[in-house]
Amino acid sequence: MRAWVVGHDGFRVGVALLAVGLAVSVYAFVRVPSPYGGPIPMWFLTPPALATLSALSVRNEIPVVGWADRRLRRARLGWALAVTALTGACAALVGANAGQDRLPELTMTLTGLTFGAAVAVGRGSAALGAACLVAVVGSTVALHDLTPARIWDHLAWPGQTAAAIVCAVAVTAYARFGAPGSAGGLSG
């Protein structure tokens, strides 16, 4: 277990996620000045920031040799769920301080999708969260009235179910295939 966490750079990423969660929960209402249409509340940047950071833990340096397929998949699934839950917890902290419902759900969805994207592009899946960050910063005016709860309500139950299914498929795909590493024969 410890080797698995270390192999995924898990301690460092975990500390970074917690640090972001704690820092943003303290400064949840601080507005980041953007030249693209006014200031953005810090809590708005939390889901993509956490998802981007979590992408660093999708790949590991643990050799595949010695792992039974089923055990390896279980380990990957557990890892993906653990990181997703951690980002959700950090987002819940921010959401509680910012008074924003559904922030954890959106963050966990984005993190799940990040793990799914990692099947194709490895740590490059950080681009998903980064793209959302850029979109938020660049579309401040368009997103002025948007809140996580509104996004969630706008999806309605078919959309929410679809998001949950896509997220589950993404995490399952990660558990099944892992993320491509820079070297062959790794179990990530």
Partner: protein
């Protein structure tokens, strides 16, 4: 300098640059706006480039045991920064080309200070150095992810004058305006000083002999002092404020007759729509006997409309209601009272009443903006109201704003 395999790093840069250009299209059509928007795209592409530079530097970190033993091993982080800067400059050139292409695709015009585009190059070089330095000092994948957002947050919250070094735009509408050259050149000097500081910080302090270390430290101190002096001077001269001044651009792109409508060449793409709206409003007012100026010109900052011309505020909407069309005509003269500390409230209300009256004649439903007007609305179609409109418009045209009385306040 850059291997073929690394040019793919241009892709995220170009995606972000394209988004920064096209997320908002209010700059389209004016050369000044095109340059400003391109320069302003570095607020987003700069952080992306910082992360790219950090990634490049991290990639060569594994060779550090070998590279540190070579004569020019200390140049490795500089090389990473240079590679990232090259990617940034190529991407920036492509962004500028994109902005020019978008501008050429619509009716366009206006002056531009093309040299201000150099600010973007400087910001990107600064970002590349910052990213490479971060990964040089903290070689970790976390650094690659954090370098970009950190640079963005420094631009947002950093102590003055750092934000001025990182954020050269987008300024907003530059129609009729230009940047003050001395302010920009001071900011350029500040960015260069910061680049030198970052470059010095990347120097291999431990491997040099004591004398060279002392000399380098003295040099670094000099540079930092110079940079600080530039910063203090910059802060003292107020470069934190966007220093803009009036440009030579005037409302010279005209169309139509009775009235002739003129806009700044940068807004030429909006001319047809404005002319349509003003023509529609003019028809209603003329039919009631209102005497309109022969020419309406766009309001520009720090500029007054020529004597005898009306003026209007221009936004970039395509469609305007009858009320909005008539409202554009209710500045038939450039009066000093409009820019007084206390605005002429009665005149402002009168403009709105005229617009609602015209909208009603155009078949639209008028809207009351006060309880008094709500009570008065049944009298909107009276002949007395028409004569009030003609009289009030004449008062607006002769700048006799103090004598304007709203129709429900008449005896």
């Amino acid at each position: 300098m850059i291997g073929r395999r690394r040019w793919w790093l241009l892709a995220p840069f170009l995606v972000v640059a394209g988004y920064a250009l096209l997320a908002n299209r209010d700059w389209v059509g004016g050369w000044a706006g095109a340059v400003d928007r391109t320069t302003g795209s570095t607020v987003l592409t700069g952080p992306v480039l910082a992360s790219i530079a950090a990634g490049l530097q991290l990639g060569v970190t594994r060779l550090r045991p070998i590279s540190e033993t070579t004569v020019r091993g200390h140049a490795v982080p500089y090389r990473s920064a240079a590679q990232a800067a090259a990617i940034g400059v190529v991407g920036y050139g492509a962004t500028l080309a994109g902005a020019v292409a978008v501008t050429l695709s619509v009716p366009h015009g206006g002056p531009a200070q093309w040299w201000t585009g150099f600010a973007g190059v400087l910001v990107l070089v600064l970002a590349a150095l910052f990213g490479a330095l971060c990964a040089h000092l903290l070689p970790s994948p976390l650094t690659v992810v954090a370098a970009g957002p950190t640079l963005f947050l420094i631009g947002a919250f950093g102590p003055a004058p750092l934000p001025e070094a990182l954020r050269f735009g987008p300024t907003g509408s530059l129609v009729g305006l230009q940047v003050v050259a001395s302010v920009y050149l001071t900011r350029f000097a500040l960015v260069v000083a910061l680049c030198v500081c970052l470059g010095v910080a990347m120097a291999p302090w431990r491997v040099y002999p004591r004398r060279i270390r002392l000399l380098t430290a003295a040099g670094a101190a000099g540079v930092v002092t110079a940079g600080a002096a530039v910063g203090v001077f910059a802060a003292g001269t107020g470069i934190g404020d966007t220093r803009l001044e009036r440009s030579a651009e005037g409302p010279t792109a005209c169309a139509g007759t009775a009235p002739t409508v003129c806009v700044a060449p940068s807004e030429r793409r909006l001319l047809a729509g404005v002319q349509r709206a003003i023509g529609r409003g003019a028809e209603v007012l003329r039919s009631a006997g209102v005497d309109l100026p022969a020419r309406y010109v766009q309001q520009l900052p720090y500029a007054e409309a020529p004597a005898g011309s009306g003026e209007f505020y221009l936004d970039d909407r395509e469609d305007r209601s009858a009320t909005e069309s008539v409202l554009m005509l209710t500045h038939p003269a450039s009066c000093p009272q409009w820019s007084q500390d206390t605005p002429p409230f009665a005149a402002l209300d009168a403009q709105q009443v005229i617009a609602e009256w015209a909208a009603a004649r155009h078949g639209e439903r008028p809207t009351a903006f006060s309880p008094e007007m709500e009570k008065w609305l049944p009298h909107l179609d009276d002949a007395a109201t028409t004569s009030w409109v003609v009289r009030t418009f004449d008062q607006l045209r002769s700048c006799d704003l103090d004598r304007i009385v709203l129709p429900w306040d008449l005896d």
